[in-house]
Amino acid sequence: GRFGDFGGRYVPESLVPACAALETAFREAWADATFHERLAELRSVYAGRPTALTPAATLSADLGITLMLKREDLAHTGSHKINNVLGQALLAQRMGKTRLIAETGAGQHGVATATAAALFGMRATIYMGERDMARQRLNVFRMELLGAEVIPVTAGSRTLKDATNEAMRGWVAAVEEAHFCLGSAAGPHPYPWLVRQFQRVIGEEARAQAAIQPDVVVACVGGGSNAAGTFAGFADTRARLVGVEAAGGAAMTHGRPGVVHGYRSMLLQDEQGQILEAESISAGLDYPGIGPEHAHLGAIGRAEYVTVTDDEAVAALRHLARAEGIICALESAHAVAWVLRAAGTPELPAGSTVLLTLSGRGDKDMATLAGVTE
């Protein structure tokens, strides 16, 4: 949870013991072979892991690079979010919790959490901004179908930022029975670390699957869990690590240090220190913060962070669909867009071997995209 100057546990006193207990439980679980066995089993027999590593033959030929796609879009519920929630649900069960609380933006993490709750026989309470609920009605329906209670958040911008506040408030009020199943590599310690550990399976699998070790590893970054998990598998290699932010939610590129949602990191904020609303077509990147580990990796120069516009992301989604027959999430399309833009330039020279994580599938974005297109 502490990464250089970033991270920490900036939470109300009411949550400190819960965070501490979670940290202890996680450390114990992580040292327990049985826990890893159960997690590995769930990943394999339930969540569809290992996910494929797909050589993008057409794009590689067109761009003059070797591009490999790590296919989190094939994971159960449609994104990498399941990796994290299965780990946290297993942990919550171990801690004797009977309920999961989660925030969600587009609904992917909410669906994943509702899924894990159903699987483990727990209650699930999902906080979702009213505006996001309107934009993602079918994900709301999916969560309810899975038995979760979806609570509309009417405060502020009525999106992920506010849902996160409300979920933390909900946790404060139910801290003894409920586990807060945070969806990104953000939040108070131990979350950024714990979520990254549950997501590192992405990077580790990819590394083992790749026939050639990549020169460049690229992933989209909102809060940054898929990128954190991907990067973790290549931290000790010489691969360049590139995180791609949405231009309208580029906390790393356009933010400055601050504290929100329990952690210190780079944040979009005004001169007064009020948190700004992000503006991205991709609900999963529509968030003013970034996980503290990314802030640290950026500060020490181990990872680079670049930005991609809404238009570039939409074009990249289309390009990938036609070239490879894969409709990825708008979030993931940001990573694709950077590769399309950078390939053949000094940023990403011809001949490079690139590993790109497709964090999720695009079904959820079809309505948005149809709106953009029509």
Binding site: V11, E13, V16, M168, G273
Partner: protein, 263 residues
């Protein structure tokens, strides 16, 4: 004497300092002033709305502190600022605490800076002569409670309930035992806050601790358009309720009463 610390969101109206004067006139022992933040994680609906309204009015910390400076000579009770970490760290805690002190604010409460994260802020506050008040919660374990009590300045803020700020129908059963636990490890005053919504809550809470912080129930009135004069009456009623605790019951009786199920 049991204490009454009413709360006001800074900049909630054009003439918001009139409420301060009313609070003082009604017998407040100190006043808590909220510096509004966009993401008030520990606040319930009422204080969120108050923060939103103040921010939409275009208020800033500078403006609030300037308003305070302007009424400084008419305010004799201590002022505590209550806000969130991001505003404190925006220009660094040293600068922030100095500005508070310059505006006549003598204490600071930052609910999302728990004791473990408080080192830098603590020194900055001390250097500026500002009391950094720490909060304790019902779930805080004993050793940690002792540390909080030891490092808190001004008073110790006992968070009565697992939950956010906000009006409640009854005082949480967790309030009195927590106050007792804190009083056992410190000589600082222990003020009970969160969910003190009615005079009878204030009486009960004041019996258990050294006084109460009252916020949402007052801000609900302000949001609904009540005048400083009307708030004066509200605070006066709370004052009377708190004073009642002082006069009537020995402390261990009070403890027994509020901790029981009052269904």
């Amino acid at each position: 004497m049991k204490r009454l610390y009413p709360y006001l969101t800074g900049g909630i109206t054009e003439d918001w300092t009139d409420y301060l004067l009313a609070y003082q006139q009604a017998g407040a022992d100190a006043i808590e002033i909220g510096l509004p933040f966009s993401d008030p994680m520990l606040d319930g609906t009422t204080i969120q709305q108050a923060s939103d309204r103040a921010l939409r009015r275009g208020t800033t910390i500078d403006a609030i502190l300037a308003d305070l400076a302007a009424v400084r000579d008419r305010i004799s009770v201590p002022l505590f600022a209550m806000t969130y970490a991001n505003l404190v760290f925006r220009d660094g805690p040293e600068v922030f605490c100095r500005r508070l002190a310059e505006a006549g604010v003598s204490g600071l409460i930052v609910p999302d800076v728990p004791v473990d994260e408080a080192d830098g802020l603590s020194s900055a506050a001390e250097a500026a002569g500002v009391d950094l008040v720490l909060l304790a919660a019902p779930v805080t374990p004993p050793e940690r409670l002792a540390e909080i009590a030891a490092r808190s300045r001004g008073f110790v803020y006992a968070v009565s309930v697992l939950g956010t700020t906000g009006e409640r129908d009854e005082l949480a059963g967790t309030a009195a035992p927590l106050a007792a636990r804190i009083k056992a490890v410190t000589d600082l005053p222990v003020l009970i806050g969160f969910g003190i919504s009615r005079p009878e809550h204030a009486t009960a809470a004041a019996r258990a601790g050294d006084g109460v912080v009252v916020a949402s129930t007052l801000m609900r009135r302000v949001l609904d358009g009540a005048t400083p004069g009307e708030l004066l009456d509200d605070v006066a009623a709370l004052r009377a309720a708190v004073d009642q605790a002082d006069q009537e019951v020995p402390a261990d009786h009070a403890h027994a009463e509020v901790s029981g199920d009052r269904g």
